[in-house]
């Protein structure tokens, strides 16, 4: 009975990962002789300014978007939980951003946020407000990307939180009310701890997505302006598909995969600690 599952894991997970690991040990450029270099590509990573830039941006994007999405997601989840009227309609509207394909989100972002042709600056100008460079500013383009992702995925976190809220035991709240814990105190000392496992589940799901975030950046900025959105994923893609440096790109991807596994492990441990 185990055999199909083991076979599936071997073919779909172990083989691709093992193959990428093998490629990362080679100097493998399309059209050139293939050479085994051991950990040579990994050593080169340490001296590569673009790698460190990519790593920094990956973490900024990850931390910024995760915190924002969890905070907003919890707030929206609580709001939805209390909503009495138009529940169905509002939930449907909230679901719509994360139902959109990333390509559509990317194209919409260009149409809205392009500094010279976008709608956003037109509206700001019409209202007499200062315009912004949005996706074209080397200083805050990464924050624009964080905002785009948060717009799309905070509602997803909210729906997970809503599910968690609906499954919380009511007797705990009754007991808390008898003891005088209401409002903010009830939220901090009852709701939040009880929601811990749900929040961490949402954090794991978003972590995996955020660390391998690619589509929207590729469509809107292709890693620019300059290298201001050249996250590890974008950098690896360019190395592999544009510069045909398969070995080095594989080393970048193995490094990123390790980071993703690490983040998942940390959250899984935390989840165990807050389980009730």
């Amino acid at each position: 009975m185990m055999l199909p599952a083991v076979g599936f894991v071997a073919v779909m997970v172990i083989f691709p990962f093992g193959y990428a690991l093998w490629l990362s040990l080679l100097d493998y450029k399309i059209g050139q002789t293939l050479t085994f270099v051991g950990i040579g590509n990994y050593k080169a990573l340490l001296a590569d300014e673009q790698f460190w830039n990519g790593l920094r941006l990956t973490f900024i994007l990850y931390a910024g978007a995760l915190v924002l999405q969890l905070v907003l997601g919890v707030a929206l989840g609580l709001l939805l939980h209390r909503l009495e009227t138009l529940k169905g309609l509002i939930r449907t509207v909230m679901v719509s951003p994360f139902m959109l394909p990333p390509v559509v989100v990317g194209m919409m972002s260009i149409v809205v946020l392009d500094p010279s042709m976008g709608v956003a600056n037109y509206l700001l100008k019409s209202a007499g407000l200062p315009t912004s460079l949005f996706l074209a500013s080397t200083d805050f383009v990464i924050f624009t990307v964080i905002m785009i992702d948060t717009w799309q995925w905070a509602p997803f976190v909210a729906l997970i939180i809503l599910g968690g809220l609906q499954s919380l035991p009511t007797r705990v709240y009754e007991a808390a009310a008898i003891d005088g814990a209401v409002g903010w105190r009830q939220f901090v000392y009852i709701t939040l701890p009880l929601l811990g496992p749900t929040i961490l589940t949402a954090a794991v799901l978003r972590s995996v997505d955020l660390l391998r975030f690619f589509d929207v950046i590729y469509i809107t900025t292709q890693g620019g302006p300059g290298y201001a959105t050249s996250t590890l994923n974008i950098y690896a893609y360019r190395k592999g598909f544009e510069f045909s440096d398969i070995g080095y790109a594989s080393a970048l991807m193995i490094t990123l995969s390790t980071i993703v596994f690490g983040a998942v492990l940390v959250f899984a441990q935390l989840r165990r600690k807050v389980a009730w």
Partner: protein, 434 residues
């Protein structure tokens, strides 16, 4: 008896010889019933092929499936499929100056020389020598024909004559007059909300557009001894002019712009001047009013250097070495690059690589219909005579080299480095690729 045997033998020999001759005769229906797959870059030529491929099917019985992607996605898909030695597609577009050597070393191109030389596979009226010599050479790598040219293109200088007229600014005749004209236009209220200058600002696309500035300023991508030459004073001068035009007169967000944004602005009449691809001519004049108020010519030569050295090259179509239908694919190549097809493709803005078409009555009549068409055709003739395909320093890693050059120019217009520092750093980075 002997006589009858001899007659029989002679008759058999004649029938056999006739049979061989028949087998070797070219027949457009030879591959009837096959299906070929095309992987193409988004380009006026590809769009026309998608619309006209039914005619090829009617002529040959070969069905055609066309996949068109934007250039980055097209290249990513091509690389993935080729790495997997996929037989799923048969024909693909390729820029030989950019990737010819790499793809050939990787064994991705089918050798078309035997097919070209085979009377059974090549139509008698397919006149290969009708393609310009430079274009034929460009499609030949290590002595093998690896593709057929489909167009001729290069960046040209476009300007909105109406905006220039309103602001009383003269048409720039020398490269050095571009910043002067830009300054006057910027100060001119009559231009309304039009942007003065726009050009490619995305790192990977800059090299194509900045090359003319570097050459016309007297610079070069290489030093006389074959080393990267972007740090040479005149190269710095050219790169700096390109970057400063974008920085001082370009639209906000230029660092994310490529031809799509530039052409949109020019087409809408919201741009005074640019240096963009000759391919985009048809798209520009599709916008109402642009055929009348846009001017087009080769980038003005340098006043100090006296040099005009534009970029010129052509896309080609090749057959995948992993294709199992190479003969059918070669039939498509012949049909798509035939003189008859090229004459029709001109109307889609595809500059013909065949001399007979470029000098033919149909093309001449078409260009004579509108002055702007004539100006476009004259520009193409000029760049084909004076141009070069070299928009990168000497290296086999052309794509990375072009990206490095673009990165340096971006640093200048984003204000991250001075021109000399940025371009000297480019040389240092390029030296690692040599």
């Amino acid at each position: 008896m002997r006589k009858s045997i001899a007659i029989w033998a002679a008759a058999s020999a004649m029938v056999f010889a006739g049979g061989v001759a028949h087998a070797q005769a070219f027949n457009w229906k030879k591959n009837d019933g096959q299906t070929i797959n095309l992987l193409l870059n988004n380009h006026p030529w590809s769009q026309a092929m998608r619309d006209m491929s039914g005619e090829f099917t009617a002529k040959t019985g070969i069905k055609v499936r066309v996949e068109i992607f934007n250039e980055e996605q097209f290249r990513a898909r091509l690389t993935t499929m080729m790495q997997a030695k996929s037989t799923d597609f048969d024909v693909f577009m390729s820029l030989k100056f950019r990737e010819g050597a790499t793809y050939d070393k990787a064994g991705w191109y089918a050798n078309l020389t035997p097919l070209l030389n085979s009377p059974a596979s090549t139509s008698p009226d397919f006149n290969f020598n009708d393609f310009g010599e430079g274009l034929r050479k460009a499609e030949t790598v290590n002595g093998k024909l690896v593709g057929l040219p489909i167009n001729l293109e290069g960046p040209l200088f476009y300007w909105n004559k109406e905006i220039f007229k309103k602001c009383n600014v003269a048409e720039p005749m020398y490269l050095e007059e571009l910043p002067e004209a830009a300054a006057k236009l910027k100060a001119c209220p009559a231009k309304g909300d039009a942007t003065v200058w726009a050009a490619r600002g995305i790192r990977g696309a800059i090299s194509y557009a900045v090359s003319g500035f570097i050459y016309n300023s007297g610079g070069d991508f290489a030093t006389p001894d074959g080393k990267p030459g972007l740090c040479q004073p005149n190269s710095v001068k050219g790169a700096e002019m390109y970057a400063n035009l974008l920085k001082d007169y370009g639209p906000p967000g230029a660092a994310n712009h490529t031809f799509t944004q530039v052409i949109e602005m020019l087409g809408q009449g919201r741009l005074a001047m640019t240096h963009e691809s000759s391919n985009e001519f048809a798209n520009i004049v599709k916008f109402p009013g642009r055929a009348a108020d846009i001017g087009v010519k080769v980038l003005p030569k340098g006043k100090a250097s006296g040099i005009s050295k534009p970029i010129v090259f052509g896309w080609g179509i090749s057959v995948s070495n992993y294709s199992t239908k190479k003969d059918a694919a070669w039939y498509f190549l012949q049909w798509a690059t035939s003189a008859e097809m090229e004459a029709r493709l001109v109307k889609n803005g595809v500059a013909p690589p065949r001399s007979s078409v470029f000098n033919g009555p149909e093309f001449k009549a078409w260009t004579a219909e509108l002055p702007i068409r004539q100006a476009w055709a004259n520009s193409l003739i000029e760049i084909s005579k004076t141009g070069t395909a070299i928009s990168y320093p000497p290296t086999d890693r052309v794509i990375e080299a072009r990206e490095t050059v673009g990165g340096g120019v971006q640093k200048i217009f984003l204000g991250q480095a001075g021109a000399k520092d940025a371009m000297c750093q480019v040389d240092a980075d390029l030296a690692k690729l040599q």
